[in-house]
């Protein structure tokens, strides 16, 4: 797979490298069992790129995303975010990294139930260095008129869009989304993906999306297929579809 990777690099050379991983492995030990979640992954992700990570459960895509997002450290190998080696950071350094550079979106929205939509966004803008206004972020995801609702008063799709607004409000350099539409019906799912796409295009945020749902891959610039802890295949998508054109 290394060869494919190098070829891709050449075709995308007009952009700088946002993430770079060198031979990373991840081994989880539970009791006597060792699980090799990643087995030597080399990957570059470029600025402003939208990559989609496909693969069966346990193929290592979430582990990679967590490592890129500074939630986890690899067992061996190096990870760079631009010039910064993430694998050299300690816990506090990773916290700062997440705080200032990364936006996360998860399958289960993980909103704070005691805060309204706007306050959930403000939670992040209060600690970011150059955030957008909370109202603005919610407007980007089409929730302008729901800003004073508590999570319990919002539908699943709306909650997920609040989560996206919360992720983008700090103007992150990267957005990492793990199954963002996993808990949503297709109509709502499209709305959510549309929001992610707009952020990628309008703000220029490098975006990585994990999904089980193959049709979603058609909105990515590149599609990385995972199997057995390795990148099995990298495909360049020359015919990107908008989120609204996706069907599943």
């Amino acid at each position: 797979m290394a060869d494919a990777h190098i070829r891709d690099l050449d075709t995308q050379s007009s952009h700088g490298v946002c993430f770079s991983t060198k031979e990373i492995t991840k081994v989880y030990e539970t009791g006597d069992v060792k699980i090799h979640a990643l087995r030597g992954v080399n990957l570059d992700i470029y600025e402003n790129e939208m990559v989609v990570l496909l693969g069966p459960s346990g193929s290592g895509k979430s582990t990679l995303l967590n490592i890129l997002g500074g939630l986890d450290q690899p067992t061996s190998g190096q990870v760079f975010f631009r010039e910064q080696e993430l694998t050299a950071l300690d816990n506090a350094g990773l916290t700062q990294y997440r705080r200032h550079h990364v936006g996360f979106v998860f399958q289960f929205y993980n909103l704070v139930p005691s805060l309204t939509a706007k306050e959930n966004v403000a939670l992040v803008t209060e600690i970011a260095t150059n955030p957008m206004k909370a109202d603005e972020a919610l407007e980007l995801v089409g929730l302008k008129d729901r800003i004073h609702h508590f999570p319990a008063q919002l539908s699943g799709g709306e909650q997920q869009r609040v989560a996206i607004a919360r992720a983008i409000a700090k103007r992150p350099q990267v957005m990492l989304c793990d199954e963002p539409t996993g808990a949503l019906d297709s109509k709502t799912g499209r709305l959510v993906l549309d929001a992610l796409m707009r952020v990628n295009q309008d703000v220029g945020t490098t975006t990585a999306i994990i999904t089980h749902n193959a049709p979603i891959a058609q909105m990515g610039d590149r599609i990385l297929s995972f199997a057995d802890g390795q990148i099995h295949h990298v495909a360049v998508n020359d015919h990107k579809l908008t989120a609204m054109d996706l069907t599943w």
Partner: protein, 787 residues
């Protein structure tokens, strides 16, 4: 083992920290019950056995001089058991290596055998020999205070003659478990000795051949005590009898009875607090457990487990925890009870110890503990049982929150989102927050209640000894003397000023209530020994009428303006009605005051003095003491510093040990409440907090959200705790009210501060423990699973 029981055990093991915290709170409640009642029963049993085995008299009387033949007439009083007549006299002692004089109470004993009543426990040495009139047996307290051994000598002024007495034995007696000198309120081992001498030796020393001046007797089981006292008084009155009294007027007996009552009161006030807090802790823990096990409960029901099975499962959980607490508590209580009993045995110098547990108390505490905790968790268990299986297996809907009034009011316009989370979380679970606050307040209150007696005693000492009775010492004459003796007293070396007083034993009666007290005759314009009214302002004794201490007035149910019947217990036994002219505040003793001339008029005597309150120049103390030791007219000198020291010692020995227990217990409650609240908060919010960590919040920032709430609740509990503490203090003050002392409800600010500090520190410690667990929040795991 059944699968459900295995689940129970594993649930318990997985939350062992919390389980232990709850069990400990329960244990504290049970331990206080077992300790208090066990100690109480054991001490009561010990006292009763001691009294019975050594034949402590039921009724005592003092007279001037009566022929031995009177004994038969006393024995003839219906209901009287054994009668012992004896000679009892107080003398001044000159103890080697002690400059101040001590007081010795000489009590006659038959030379050949133990007395019929009030027998001695010989601890060392032997009985007195009939051939040597200078042999004495002395009380163990006094012997130990001066490290006297067998064969040691000391001097006593006996009927004007200085005699060398030889110690041949050291003994204890049920009559003087507490040896309190006349006019004093607390035992003073250094300056008050009980000494037994052969009857013949004392007869000749005090010119009482064929006569006696004290009598004690036992009554038959069914006999009426007051009937016997009335008849005895009538018999001894012609011989200068000073009013017979039962055990309830014997200071040693009164102090012990009070101690036992106080133990019982503590055993009643404290345990409900612990058990209440434990019930509440279990309530929140079980509620949370049921929340996290919703799906499992649904599954069990889907499998066909009945409501009863599931209810029983959770009830067992409560019972196992309570059982653990009860077992620890009984163990702790028995151990502490044994320790307390041993301590009291040493303190009271009981010759033997009967520690025993009261099985009914233990059984009762088990039932009360189980009842309380089951009642506290019933609602949560019932809710668990009621969930429909299909509903239980679905994800619980997100918890709905509201904007708090505090935010709406605009009082806190610029408030950070984490702070909002704190306020709304409290608002969302107001009952739990309220109970957490209440739990911590109770521990603040408990600590205050445990520590306040020291403040109260110190205040009482300050008022009684420094604001009212400002004399350095009180000189007592053997008999009332002419006021001109003031010149003699002021001429003694080291005496700076002297104020006379007259003390006369009387019986005050109002309706069916009566009290035997000393009426103090006071000069006008006294500045050394002052009388303070209930607002602690110095007052003059009015020219007519009685001024009573508020407590005494209360005991007699008399108010200012009422007339009480006053009967002299000496001399001519005159009796008449006297008006109550004023009330005063005295925390110690029961006192009554009268103008000296009014008292003399009542006595139909010229104005006489019983002694002087004096100010002493401390540089000349030693010379003064020497002079007093050689002045037969002076019966004794009572020093204020000794009185205060003995007060403090007694308080320290009795209160500080139980105080230490309650401080530890109070801290345990605070810890149990805060730790549980923090753990539950963490378990409920781990998902939320992990998400915040993912968003880039630091450990400190999420700790603020979790612990900030606890900090607010802790702060809120402090003022409430102060109020509860004051209330408990008032309750305890009421329970401690006795003839010997009343404690005012005085709580120093340092006590409030210390109680709060203990709770705040407990809160911080439990916060740190939970904070450490917060460091290991699983950011990835939590995001991968649904709520």
């Amino acid at each position: 083992m059944r699968a459900l029981d295995l689940k129970l055990i594993r649930n318990l093991l997985s939350m062992r920290g919390q389980a232990l915290a709850i069990a400990l709170v329960i244990a504290c409640g049970v331990a206080t019950v077992v300790m208090a009642f066990g100690t109480n029963v054991s001490l009561q049993e010990t006292v009763d056995t001691y009294y019975e085995r050594y034949r402590y008299g039921h009724i005592f009387a003092q007279l001037k001089r009566a022929p031995n033949s009177l004994k038969q007439r006393i024995e003839a009083i219906p209901g009287v058991g054994r009668v012992e007549t004896r000679i009892v006299r107080d003398v001044t002692l000159d103890v080697p290596n002690m400059s101040e004089p001590a007081l010795g109470r000489l009590i006659s004993i038959p030379e050949q055998r133990q007395p019929e009543l009030n027998k001695l426990v010989i601890r060392q040495g032997r009985w007195v020999d009939v051939s040597d009139p200078d042999e004495v047996i002395i009380s163990e307290n006094f012997a130990e205070a001066h490290q006297f051994g067998i064969g040691d000598l000391m001097s006593a002024i006996i009927n004007g003659n200085k005699r060398k007495l030889k110690i041949v034995g050291i003994a204890l007696t049920p009559e003087y478990i507490y040896a309190v000198a006349p006019g004093q309120l607390m035992p003073e081992d250094r300056t008050f000795a009980i000494m037994w001498m052969g009857h013949k030796a004392l007869e000749s020393a005090f010119d009482l051949k064929g006569a006696f001046n004290a009598v004690s007797l036992t009554k038959l089981r069914q006999a009426n005590e007051s009937g016997i006292i009335t008849r005895l008084d009538a018999l001894i009155e012609p011989y200068g009898g000073v009013g017979a009294a039962g055990r309830d007027e014997q200071i040693s007996h009164v102090i012990i009875t009070n101690e036992l009552e106080q133990l019982a009161i503590v055993g009643q006030i404290i345990p409900p607090i612990f058990l209440g807090v434990a019930a509440f802790l279990l309530h929140i823990v079980i509620t949370r457990l049921i929340q996290t096990q919703r799906e499992q409960i649904g599954l069990l029901k889907a499998f066909g487990y009945s409501d009863l099975d599931i209810g029983w499962h959770f009830a067992k959980f409560v019972m196992v925890l309570t059982g653990l607490g009860v077992v620890i508590g009984i163990g702790m209580g028995m151990w502490m009870g044994q320790g307390m009993t041993e301590m009291y045995t040493m303190f009271f110098r009981f010759p033997f110890l009967h520690y025993q547990n009261d099985p009914s108390t233990i059984v009762l505490s088990v039932f009360i503990a189980l009842g309380t905790t089951l009642a506290g968790t019933m609602q949560a268990v019932r809710k668990a049982v009621k969930i429909e299986p299909a509903v239980a297996m679905q994800t619980a809907p997100p918890v709905s929150y509201k904007v708090t009034l505090l935010e709406k009011s605009g009082l806190i316009a610029r408030i950070s989102e984490p702070s909002r989370m704190i306020f709304r979380h409290i608002r969302r679970w107001p009952i739990r927050a309220g109970l957490t606050v209440l739990g911590m307040s109770l521990s603040v209150g408990l600590l205050i209640a445990a520590m306040f007696p020291i403040d109260a005693f110190e205040h009482a000492i300050d008022v009684y000894y420094y604001q009212a009775q400002r004399q350095d010492a009180t000189l007592t004459f053997t008999e009332a003397r002419n006021p001109s003796s003031q010149r003699i007293v002021t001429n003694m070396p080291g005496i700076l000023a002297a104020e006379p007083y007259r003390a006369v034993p009387v019986k005050l009666t109002n309706g069916h209530l009566s009290e035997q007290v000393s009426v103090m005759g006071m000069q006008e314009g006294m500045t050394i020994h002052r009388i303070l009214d209930t607002a602690l302002k110095p007052i003059e004794v009015p020219p007519k009428g009685l001024v009573l201490s508020a407590y005494l007035a209360d005991q007699l149910n008399a108010n200012i303006g009422d007339k009480v019947h006053m009967k002299l217990m000496t001399g001519k036994r005159k009796a008449d009605d006297v008006v109550v002219a004023g009330l005063l505040e005295e925390y110690f003793g029961t006192s009554a005051y009268m103008n000296e001339h009014a008292l003399a008029a009542f006595l139909q005597e010229p104005t006489l003095v019983s002694g002087f309150h004096v100010l002493v120049d401390e540089y000349h103390e030693d010379v003064l003491y020497k002079e007093i030791k050689n002045t037969p007219a002076v019966a004794g000198i009572a020093l204020k510093t000794h009185a205060i020291r003995s007060f403090r010692n007694t308080i320290q020995e009795t209160i500080s040990i139980s105080l230490m227990f309650y401080v530890v217990f109070g801290a345990m409650i605070a810890f149990g409440v805060v730790y549980n609240a923090a753990r539950i908060s963490l378990s409920e919010r781990s998902r939320e907090l992990a998400s915040l960590r993912v968003l880039g919040f630091t450990q400190g920032e999420i700790a603020y959200i979790l612990l900030g709430e606890l900090a607010i609740l802790t702060l809120a509990s402090l003022p409430l705790g102060a109020l509860i503490g004051y209330g408990l203090a008032a309750l305890i003050a009421l329970g401690f009210e006795t003839e010997i002392f009343r404690i005012p409800i005085i709580v120093n600010s340092s006590t409030y501060a210390l109680a709060m500090l203990v709770v705040v520190v407990s809160a911080i410690v439990s916060g740190l423990l939970v904070g450490r667990q917060m460091m290991h929040l699983d950011m990835i795991g939590v995001l991968k699973t649904r709520d």
